[in-house]
Symmetry: D2
Subunit: 101 residues, 4 copies
Amino acid sequence: MRACHSEAEEHAKVVVQPNKSALMKRLARIEGQVRGIGGMIEADRYCIDVLTQVAAVKSALDAVAMQLLENHMRGCVASAMQQGDATGMVTELIDAVKKIR
Amino acid sequence: MRACHSEAEEHAKVVVQPNKSALMKRLARIEGQVRGIGGMIEADRYCIDVLTQVAAVKSALDAVAMQLLENHMRGCVASAMQQGDATGMVTELIDAVKKIR
Amino acid sequence: MRACHSEAEEHAKVVVQPNKSALMKRLARIEGQVRGIGGMIEADRYCIDVLTQVAAVKSALDAVAMQLLENHMRGCVASAMQQGDATGMVTELIDAVKKIR
Amino acid sequence: MRACHSEAEEHAKVVVQPNKSALMKRLARIEGQVRGIGGMIEADRYCIDVLTQVAAVKSALDAVAMQLLENHMRGCVASAMQQGDATGMVTELIDAVKKIR
């Protein structure tokens, strides 16, 4: 991963994910799964079968989140810590962990 | 909701969700959000911003799951219980709750 | 389980859990585990080891919650549904599922 | 916090939590809450009221876990990263995040 490149302001940070194309493929697959759930509801499929699919998509999103979190720690957080300036990042990271749980 | 209509075999159960079109709209919106996350990764957006979006999609899916669970209890489980035959359904429901957590 | 016995008012409901003594034993064990975590912190144990124990206690509490939920559905909710009056109960149940996730 | 002090072997790591006495107090309170849940079951309290308490304890444990995670990142992980040797720690941390979710 290109080290976390922080531009002029906070919101212009640029991060090339190391496994970028794999991540994009996974998201395309998840998108298809979500479309499939819509199709199940349209086809009047049994509630529990739909719920099972919703659970599968949530798990797939979790796996993506964990990968992003790992990339972030190995890339952005590591860089910041080596520069001795990671206080804000840890707070931000804890907030992210709370959100994705 | 048309009461849970169980056909010949288990896997042919037909359930018209009471709020079917609203649910389909929500899933279409979630599908768009997932596509948006793929776009964020393609655009090298900051990890934490991507994670925040993943968390938002997970919440949206949770809301759909809760709606399906509620429909299921008010429809399928209620019918089965009134017919005094809900033992298997409660087991199935508990399993579903465990999965979607 | 003695069917859900609703007294004068909402908050006086009495429910004898069918596996009452097993549940009490599990809670006593969880109480001991929590005390053990306090001991680990007192003994300056490694953060990750403490976190692993916290995770174990959360899982044990989840199992208790699932058992209570199952008892509730097989007992209280089933009774209410057979009496054709479970609207409030389903709402309450969904709220409980949301909380324990 | 005394920086993460790694002794002879992995499992002998010593970590004095920076807010050690506050953490121990919180765990003592949680221990009391768990005992209270056992008491509610003994007293045949309504399932949903018991579940609400179980949820409260899970939240309290989550808050402890988040505090430990934060301490760990600011202490142990930061030290390891400054020494340029945090690869294993990030893996361990991701595993911990997965467990406590």
